[in-house]
């Protein structure tokens, strides 16, 4: 009984390790050629957009949403060229769409909708950063 249990446990552990190995990171991707300046600029612009929406500065919000959309479009292209990181490509595309929606909401003076879209935007940012952003040291 005990031997069987040990064998069963050992088999399960081996299977687990095998599964893990199979599941391994196709996502081990070299991001050293990523242009950090683009992301730093977007990071600043996202903060700026938050302020624009809080102060209801439509003109600045439109400009910042446009800048973010452009940055995410660049990121989409970058990850597409890298290949094998579909999740990052999708997240960038989602972000672009949300940025467009923010601009539309602001254009129609619907700041509540713009704020809701903004919250969706930062969540999209974080979902991508959780996987691809280098750790803070």
């Amino acid at each position: 009984m005990r031997i069987r249990a040990i064998i069963a446990r050992g088999g399960l552990a081996a299977a687990l390790v095998l599964l893990c190995a199979l599941a391994v990171a196709a996502t081990n991707i070299d991001l050293t050629d990523f242009d950090d300046e683009v992301m730093k600029n977007m990071d600043e612009t996202v903060k700026s957009l938050d302020s624009d929406l809080a102060t209801r500065d439509a003109k600045a919000a439109q400009a910042d949403a446009g800048t973010i959309r452009e940055g995410l479009h660049w990121a989409e292209g970058y990850f597409t060229r890298k290949g094998n990181v579909e999740d990052a490509v999708h997240l960038a595309k989602d972000g672009e769409e949300i940025a467009v929606n923010i601009a539309k909401s602001v254009a129609s003076s619907d700041f509540d909708a713009a704020l809701n879209n903004y919250e969706a935007l930062v969540k999209t940012c974080r979902r991508c950063h959780d996987v691809y952003k280098p750790p803070e040291l």
Binding site: A13, C20, A23, A25, K47, S48, A54, T55, R126, L137
Partner: protein, 484 residues
């Protein structure tokens, strides 16, 4: 991509700063909340201000476990980790794992503790916290916590200020800014550091700083031990009338400086106000932190005994003071757990976790359980949020053979009281490496605490250098599932 906005922003920022009228720019904001807050701030930055909506809590006792305890040895029981003890970290768990410290990834390291489920909620607690285990039915365990960074200073800054570099206001400062004081005779934001050593959690003024908020909102640190405030008494050679006369003259001089020479200098205004607060505190503060009138039963409840070397004494004293402070309507009490002696530095158990956590748990277990029980028996727990948290947790893989490394990907915090629903929310994966459900970032924790105090984290704003800033930066989501 256009970079031109930076120049424009910088111009606006410098213009606003040049005016030196941060409060005024807030008053001119189109946001009603910012305007109301800023208008009140012009008269008295600590004047009570209405919340955005009806609050559930009035005060916060923030228990900062500096150095980062291991959730895997206290609250997050993982039988799978026990089973896999000694094996390498499976590759599936390594996927996208961004290790940053130099400890490497050692073999999986199982908890050495024994575990039981407690209370109606069935919360798991290890034998290191037998007293706290009796209070689990008051606690909401957030088992899916995560953060950024993997060094104490960065993650501690993020936990307290939502920033990764110094310069942003602590949560307690935002609370004080948003609500003002509920007791003009005591600081609204008090910090109670305890213990010896540097405490790996980035202990220092940056985590209770007011950052870009006016300096009057900064935390006021009280010393541990029998003399929490130095020079609180009026000197024997000075009469009460002389002291009042000196302070009146000082006040007039500071007002002249503030109005004529340095308008908008918040540090000068804060300094001027601090003299008056200190004057009032000569009467109120000693009484607020004096435990002489506490009963022996209460002291025993917290673990305060007459033996100076007793492990719980200093931390227990701090927690009993925290209760007395919230009883006197102090808004935010930040208690930092340092090591009780020089045998260890803090919770930072890179090695000898058994020794380290034995000492640290013995220090905090009975006092925290006593605090919860005491608050409850006095009817204060309903309106007081007690928050247990740290800059991050510790890894399921070992380090140096008998320790654990930093783990920002999945750990446990908890909240009790103040309209919080007891139970367990969220989870880590099978080995406790990453949060996989009910994920709560530090931004979300802060947003939830502000919400319970009646403040909307999206509306609590401060105009700084032309930009509307908020406590949780651009992030934060209230964890509605844990609210009653």
């Amino acid at each position: 991509m256009s970079h031109s906005f930076k120049t424009r922003r910088q111009f606006l920022a410098h213009s606003a700063y040049g005016l030196g009228a941060l409060s005024l720019t807030g008053a001119l904001s189109t946001s009603p909340v910012a305007r109301a807050a800023a208008t009140a701030a012009i008269d008295d930055p600590l004047a009570p201000k209405p919340p955005h909506f009806a609050p559930k809590a009035k005060s916060v006792i923030w228990l900062h476990m500096a150095g980062a305890p291991s959730s895997l040895d206290l609250f997050d029981y993982k039988p799978e980790l026990v089973r896999l003890h000694g094996q390498p970290l499976p590759d599936s768990f390594r996927k996208n794992l961004k290790t940053a410290t130099d400890g490497g990834v050692g073999a999986l390291y199982a908890t050495q503790r024994t575990w039981k489920q407690y209370g109606q909620t069935g919360a798991w607690v290890s034998d290191w916290l037998p007293n706290l285990a009796t209070q689990v039915d008051s606690i909401a365990f957030l088992k899916g916590c995560k953060t950024d960074g993997s060094t104490h200073v960065i993650s501690s800054l993020k936990l307290h200020t939502s920033g990764l570099v110094p310069g942003r206001p602590a949560l307690g400062s935002w609370v004080t800014y948003g609500l003002g004081t509920a007791n003009p005779d005591l600081p609204a934001f008090v910090v109670l550091p305890t213990g010896t050593g540097s405490a790996g959690g980035g202990r220092g003024t940056t985590i209770w700083s007011s950052g870009f908020l006016p300096a009057t909102y900064a935390g006021t640190a009280l010393r541990p031990g029998d003399s929490p405030m130095l020079y609180i008494d009026r000197p024997a050679v000075e009469s009460a009338a002389e002291q009042r006369g000196t302070l009146d003259l000082l006040k007039r001089l500071n007002e002249h400086e503030s109005e004529v020479l340095h308008p908008g200098d918040s540090e000068l205004e804060a300094r001027a106000r601090s003299y008056e607060l200190a004057y009032r505190m000569q009467k109120t503060a000693p009484e607020a932190v004096d435990l002489a009138k506490e009963t022996a039963a209460t002291k025993e409840l917290y673990g305060i005994v007459d033996t100076a070397t007793y492990a719980t004494r200093e931390y227990a004293t701090a927690l009993l003071r925290a209760r007395r402070l919230v009883e006197r309507n102090v808004r935010f009490v930040h208690v930092i757990s340092g090591a009780p002696d020089n045998s260890i530095d803090s919770w930072d158990a890179h090695h000898e976790i058994e020794k380290n956590h034995s000492v640290m748990c013995r220090q905090v277990d009975k006092p925290i359980a006593g605090l919860l029980a005491d608050l409850k028996s006095r009817g204060l727990l309903d309106t007081t949020l007690v928050v247990w948290t740290a800059e991050f947790g510790r890894t399921p893989y070992g380090q140096t053979g008998d320790g654990r490394d930093h783990n920002p990907w999945g750990y446990t915090s908890w909240i009790a009281g103040g309209g919080i629903k007891p139970g367990t929310y969220g989870a880590t994966d099978e080995i406790g490496l990453r949060a996989v459900s009910g994920i709560v970032d530090t931004y979300d924790l802060q947003a939830t605490i502000l919400h319970q105090l009646g403040l909307d984290h999206r509306k609590l704003t401060f105009l700084y250098q032309g930009r509307s800033e908020r406590a949780t930066t651009v992030y934060g989501e209230v964890v509605k599932e844990i609210i009653t």
